[in-house]
């Protein structure tokens, strides 16, 4: 959890603040940040994944003093950043296949260790398809062996690069090209899919966390914290996709925020299988507020409002709130740092 600063009008939440001491500002507020994923990439307008990747890698670059190697699974992030002969990466970067990124990252970490270069750290990254589905065996192996890798999943809840197919991270009721909005239960089915962070926790690895691009302070502090551990670590970042979700490009960050504020996406961190902190919901909203701006849920509102489906989604959010204590976070874990005094 990031340290919350009190009494500055936006000190706790905005990217920077002219009144904060430099070391309390975010990496992103620094004009000399690495810009690990630089301009000219071909991600869609308002891409949450491009933003999330830069947030994560710039923070990792700062945390490691620039001694970082990255391994990327196939997916949008790989495709939009490296159409030959151009690359947007300003970090050492490797790509092999869709399903083997965790294994390649393990290999890089092992090789570095063999060469005595444990000062160089490894970060694997991929989309939810590459992480939650096809790369899952490699990921579980990486966790089990405890390889010194931080694996980051940029979760845009579908196989976006190949045309928005359903993944194990696609939420129920969402329309994708393989879960059309037809029939009595339109969109993705309820009761399938999985929570990769909870499965990662079940491996009892040193560190697991979730985050979104809507709370930069929180995201950066989690990357930094993850880099403070050795062994296998997992970070799952929600990154809305304007194309696949059918949202206005300008609303990408806002939609991520609504996912958190509605309770649909719980933000927490865990060590060795135990939840150690959750980000409390600041201003709770009904799930409807999150669903409405996204065309992938339009069939819940047109031609008529599907109260039955919306209620089921709300029940899911309520369950998260209850399960993770998203409204009672302060009681369970004490006030956020810096607000106690």
């Amino acid at each position: 959890m990031s340290e919350r600063v009190r009494f500055f009008q936006t000190g706790s939440f905005a990217v920077g603040n002219r009144l904060l001491p430099l070391d309390a500002r975010t990496v992103q507020s620094d004009p000399s940040r690495s810009n690990s994923l630089t301009s000219g990439h071909r991600a869609c307008r308002g891409c949450g994944e491009a933003l999330g990747a830069r947030y994560v890698l710039d923070a990792a670059m700062r945390a490691t003093g620039g001694r970082l190697v990255t391994v990327n699974a196939t997916g949008c992030l790989e495709v939009f950043s490296t159409p030959y002969p151009e690359t947007s990466w300003r970090v050492p970067w490797l790509h092999s296949l869709f399903g083997n990124a965790p294994a390649v990252a393990s290999g890089v970490a092992t090789a570095l260790k063999a060469r005595g270069r444990t000062d160089i750290r490894v970060l694997g990254q991929g989309g939810d398809g590459g992480t939650v589905d096809i790369g899952f065996g490699c990921l579980s192996g990486m966790f089990e062996r405890g390889d010194d890798v931080l694996f980051v999943c940029y979760d845009n809840q579908g196989y976006m690069n190949t045309g928005v197919q359903r993944s194990g991270a696609t939420p129920p009721a969402a329309r994708t090209s393989t879960t059309q909005a037809v029939g009595p239960e339109p969109g993705n089915v309820f009761g399938q899919g999985k929570s990769a962070p909870l499965i990662a926790m079940a491996h009892e690895i040193p560190y697991v966390a979730t985050a979104t691009i809507a709370d930069l302070h929180d995201l950066e502090s989690k990357v930094e914290r993850a880099m403070g551990f050795h062994g296998a670590r997992y970070l799952h970042v929600l990154v809305p996709c304007p194309l696949g979700w059918g949202g206005d490009a300008a609303q990408t960050v806002r939609i991520a925020r609504l996912a958190v504020e509605s309770g649909l996406f719980p933000v927490f961190e865990a060590e060795r299988g135990e939840v150690t902190a959750v980000s409390p919901i600041r201003h709770r909203v009904p799930v409807e507020e999150y669903l409405r701006p996204q065309a992938r849920f339009r069939h819940l509102f047109e031609p008529e409002r599907r109260a039955d489906v919306i209620d089921r989604l709300q029940a899911g959010a309520d369950r998260n709130i209850e399960r993770f204590g998203l409204l009672r976070a302060e009681e369970r874990f004490g006030p956020p740092l810096g607000e106690g005094s």
């Binding site: 939440f13 603040n17 004009p31 301009s39 990439h41 071909r42 002969p85 151009e86 960050v253």
Partner: protein, 539 residues
């Protein structure tokens, strides 16, 4: 060139790919008019001085404030702060305590002896200001800053107008008023006291321009059938005598007639002078009282009683007869024929003030309507070279409006004297609440100013409302959301997925790199204060 080990293809940077070509809309940085600034009758740039106060740069903040208003410490005590009523933060939790911060800055300036120097070259023009109330003094201050030679003449023995002879000391300590008036005098403004100006026409012969600010100093009278022994006084007279240290004898039971702020002030003053029973008699209801609600509340805390829907029918030694009223369908009070007697040692009339227009009697081109002198948008009367402002012209009759008139008049007088008519700068469109992204502002309830114990208040003319200490003032300033004006939070710089925002450095704000901006609009949505617009690209 030989490629490194295992590298077979040399790659270039994506910086060669100018994604700006994708754009159909572009973000543009704007400045919008914050509602506080918009509402301030003195035209203060509230958001801007709060911005400096937030950084703890109190002197810079004070100087920013002083550009528009030479009375921060007075304002921080007596202004009815319409800025706060308009403040966007009121829609989020509670309005920013602008007035309390203003008082802190004003007091800090007095404590530290900050002064203002005149840097404009002398123009050689001489301006006479008639009346040393807030309007006249504000005009003198601004005219002096613009390089003119200014003489202020006032009939009273001390400067300040109603700030000295009307507003009681328990709301405005006199050493504070003195300090702010003296600071204006120290700028080289000549203030001639006990010098009534009977005739503006005569004065115009000795000066290049005249600003009239004689206020509304005549107490309105009403016909009350009264016996010889009835003691009937007018509110302004009572307040003036108290200010001069010669409090009148009001007795133990005082009836105040009227429902405005003056009525509240005189009733509260009566309590302080020893009246055990101070009753305000007003012919309408509480809701229809012109007095500010906080003043009614403070009066009640001090034991002042209110008799709504009542008029005084007659007064005699020791009693007044009041008649009950009822409101008709149109809300107008109508007599009921029901009478009641109240014990009263004195009756104080506080039923309004009129303007003494004798000063313009010899200027036939000056027009008067509804009892007040008429002026154009340039604050000039029908007589060229004679300007007027404050309570004597159409006005909400507040210190702040008077100060605003003084500033406006000074600018128009300056333009008139230079032969280059002053054109006010265009106003930015309003920074509405809907444009803000309030998620980014930390939750922060307002700070409360300390107040004097009600029990102690009735025995002293010490100020009822105290100031904020530095910590609280800083906190309060930092509650400002900087509506419509970039406060360099770095959000746009951070949230752009394309690194297309360039940070120009402290105080320099940001620029969009149009080579790479795809026009997604995230920066626009995520700007907390609504300082970025998304506009269509020309095709």
């Amino acid at each position: 060139m030989k490629a490194p080990f295992a590298i077979t293809l040399r790659v270039g940077s994506s910086l060669a790919n100018k994604t700006g070509a994708w754009r159909t809309e572009r973000p543009v940085y704007v400045d919008r008019l914050p509602p506080c600034n918009d509402a301030c009758p003195a035209g203060e740039n509230v958001q801007r001085w709060l911005y400096h106060a937030e950084s703890g740069e109190y002197e810079t903040a004070w100087r920013e404030l002083m550009r528009d208003n030479p009375f921060p410490a007075v304002m921080g005590r007596v202004c009815y702060h319409p800025c706060q009523t308009a403040c966007n933060r009121g829609k989020l939790d509670e309005e920013v305590g602008i007035n309390a911060v203003e008082r802190f800055l004003g007091d800090e300036a007095i404590r530290r002896g900050w002064t203002v120097s005149v840097t404009a070259p002398p123009t050689g023009k001489r301006v006479l200001v008639v009346g040393a109330g807030p309007s006249g003094l504000a005009a003198a201050y601004h005219l002096r800053l613009l390089g003119h030679e200014v003489t202020v003449r006032d009939a009273a023995p001390r400067a300040g107008g109603m700030m000295r002879y009307g507003i009681p000391a328990y709301r405005l300590a006199r050493d504070v008023l003195d300090a702010e008036v003296d600071r204006i005098a120290a700028m080289g403004v000549t203030i001639e006291l006990s010098s009534p100006v009977p005739d503006a026409a005569a004065a115009l012969r000795d000066f290049d321009a005249v600003f009239l600010a004689v206020g509304a100093q005549l107490s309105r009278r009403t016909e009350i059938p009264a016996g010889d022994s009835a003691r009937i006084l007018d509110a302004l007279g009572v307040l003036r005598d108290v200010s001069e240290g010669e409090p009148p004898l009001l007795g133990r039971r005082v009836v105040v007639y009227g429902g405005g702020n003056t009525a509240m002030d005189v009733a509260r003053t009566a309590r302080r002078l020893g009246a055990t029973d101070a009753v305000v008699v007003y012919r309408r209801t509480r809701e229809r009282m012109p007095a500010q609600p906080f003043e009614v509340a403070e009066a009640e805390q001090e034991g002042v009683r209110m008799r709504w829907l009542s008029t005084i029918a007659a007064a005699d030694g020791g009693t007044v007869t009041v008649e009950r009223m009822r409101l008709d369908e149109t809300g107008f009070p109508r007599p009921t024929g029901e009478y009641e007697e109240l014990a009263a040692d004195s009756v104080v009339l506080a039923i309004g003030q009129d303007v003494d227009r004798s000063v313009v009697a010899t200027l036939p081109r000056v027009s008067v309507a509804d009892g007040v002198v008429q002026v154009g948008a340039d604050m000039m009367t029908g007589q060229p070279g004679v300007f007027a402002g404050g309570d004597m012209v159409p006005s909400p009759r507040t210190v702040t409006a008077a100060v605003g008139h003084g500033k406006q008049a000074a600018r128009y007088i300056d333009g008139w004297l230079r032969g280059e008519p002053y054109a006010p700068p265009p106003r930015h469109p309003l920074a509405t609440f809907e444009r803000l992204n309030t998620w980014y502002y930390s939750d922060a309830p307002a700070t409360v100013r300390p107040t004097l114990d009600a029990a102690r208040r009735v025995s002293t003319f010490a100020e009822v409302v105290g100031g904020l200490d530095e910590g609280s003032a800083l906190f309060e300033a930092r509650r400002c959301m900087s509506c419509g004006n970039c406060f360099e939070c770095d959000n746009c710089f951070g949230v752009c997925p394309d690194n297309a925002v360039v940070k120009l450095g402290p105080g320099e704000r940001y620029a969009i790199d149009l080579d790479f901006c795809k026009g997604c609009g995230i920066c626009v949505t995520e700007c907390p204060c609504g300082a970025i617009d998304l506009v269509p690209e020309e095709t």
